[in-house]
Symmetry: none
Subunit: 243 residues, 2 copies
C-alpha cells in the first residue's frame, strides 16, 4: 500500500489548544492516518514535554508544526477550510454530513492546500473563526454523550479522510489466498460425502431429501480451496475405513 499523496495537502489546524497533551495526541492520531501538516494557532503551551510524550512516534509532526497567531495566518494559501463544530450557528452554513464534507475536501486537495480546523477543548471555535472557514461539519456522535476529546476527534476525521483517499484508488482486497478448488474437485468431494453417508445409514438414497443440496450450497458459499478438499476427503476416507 502506498500512502495517498493527497493527504499531505491537508493541514490540521488546532485553534488555541489549552493542553499540550492534546496537541501530542492529535499529532499521533494524524500520523497514524498519514496526515503530517500540523498548524497551531496561539497554543497556550508549546513546545512542551507532555506534547512530545503523548505524540509518541509522531514527534516529527510536532517538530514540523507551524505556530501561528491567527486562523487567518494558518489558512493562508488554502482553498477550503472545514471547521469542526459541535452545534449549529446561526450565521454559518449548516454543518455537512461528515463523509460528504471529507469527500469535497479531498477532491480539492488533489490540486491545492486545504485545512480542517479544530477549536479549543472547552470553548470550541469562536464565531469569527468559523466564519473564516468555507464549510462546517459536526461529528455525528451519540447525542446523549457526544464528548470526544480533541485527539479522538482528530482520529475520526483523519480516518474518514484516509478511508476515502484509499478507496479512491484501492480495489477491494482479495478475500482468499489459497488456490481454489476446481468445480470438479468439489463435485468429487460431494460424491464422496454422499457415498460415505449412504454407507453410514445417515442418507437414504431412496429418500435423499435436501441433505446433499445443503452441503453443496455450503461448499459453494465458502469457496473451497484445493487443500481443504484434500483434507475433507482424507477425513471422510478415514471415517469410512473404520466403518
Amino acid at each position: 500500500m502506498t500512502e495517498p499523496g493527497v493527504l499531505s495537502q491537508i493541514r490540521v489546524v488546532l485553534a488555541r489548544p489549552s493542553h499540550p497533551g492534546n496537541i501530542g495526541a492529535a499529532a499521533r492520531a494524524m500520523k497514524t492516518m498519514g496526515l503530517t501538516r500540523l498548524y497551531l494557532v496561539s497554543p497556550r503551551e508549546f513546545p512542551h514535554p507532555e506534547a512530545t510524550t503523548r505524540a509518541s512516534g509522531a514527534a516529527d509532526v510536532l517538530e514540523n508544526a507551524v505556530v501561528c497567531e491567527s486562523i487567518a495566518e494558518a489558512l493562508t494559501g488554502t482553498v477550503q477550510a472545514l471547521a469542526l463544530t459541535s452545534r449549529h450557528r446561526e450565521l454559518c452554513a449548516p454543518p455537512r454530513w461528515l463523509p460528504e464534507a471529507a469527500s469535497e475536501l479531498l477532491q480539492l486537495a488533489a490540486s491545492a492546500d486545504v485545512a480542517v480546523v479544530f477549536g479549543n477543548e472547552t470553548f470550541g471555535l469562536s464565531n469569527e473563526e468559523v466564519a473564516q472557514c468555507q464549510r462546517t461539519v459536526t461529528i455525528p456522535a451519540n447525542e446523549e454523550y457526544p464528548s470526544l476529546n480533541l485527539g479522538s476527534a482528530v482520529q475520526v476525521i483523519a480516518w474518514e479522510l484516509r478511508r476515502q483517499a484509499l478507496e479512491g484508488g484501492l480495489p477491494s482486497l482479495p478475500q482468499q489466498f489459497g488456490e481454489l478448488a476446481t468445480h470438479d474437485d468439489v463435485e468429487r468431494l460431494i460424491e464422496h460425502f454422499e457415498l460415505a453417508l449412504v454407507g453410514s445409514g445417515f442418507l437414504n438414497p431412496k429418500k435423499p431429501g435436501r441433505l446433499i443440496p445443503r452441503i453443496r450450497r455450503l461448499f459453494g458459499r465458502a469457496g473451497l480451496e484445493r487443500e481443504e478438499v484434500a483434507i475433507l476427503r482424507g477425513a471422510l476416507a478415514s471415517l469410512q475405513e473404520k466403518s
Copy 2:
C-alpha cells in the same frame, strides 16, 4: 437524529487488556459512537479508578461491562466476530477491507449478536483467539507509523460502524437464507469433528498439525447456518456409530 438500534447488538470485546486507563478510553470511545456493550476477557486490573477517570461520562459502560475468562465465553451467542489484527496470519482468513467488514457485521447485527474483538495492547490477539473469530480486519494505517493505541482503535472502528449505520442503505449480504449458527454451536461442531477424526485415526492427538485449524477456518469463512451444523453433526455421529 435517533440512535441506530443496530449498534446495541454489537459487543466490543477487549482481550486481556493490561492498562485500566485503556479500558476507560475504550468505553468513552464506544459511548460517543453509540456502542454500549463492553466485554472484558481477563483484564489485569478491573474495576480500577483509572478506568473510571478515563471513561469520563461513560462510566455506565464500565458498570455494565461483562467480565469473562475466555474469548469463547465473551462470544457465546454471537453469530459473527471480527478480530482486529495488525498482521496477516497463516491459518486465518486474510484481513478484510475495514468498511466491507463493518458492513457485513452491521447487516448481521440487525437480527443477532455480533462482536468486534481487540487484543492486548502489546501482544495483540493470540492465534487461538483469532481462530475463534470468523473474520479478521486491519485498520489500514500509515505503514510507517501504524501505532494506534487501544482507545483510538476502538474510536476508529466505532465510527466506521456508526457512519454506516447512520448512512443506512447497506449493500446486501452474499446469499444466505437460514439462521446463522452461534459461536458455541460451531465450537461444539469442531469438537465433534476432532473427536470423530481422532476415533477414526485420521487425526493423531499428539501431532494434531493444522487439520483442525483448517477446518475451523473453512467454517468461519462459510458462516455456518444452524441447520448446517445440525446436518454435519448428524453425519459425523452416523459415521462414528458405524466405526
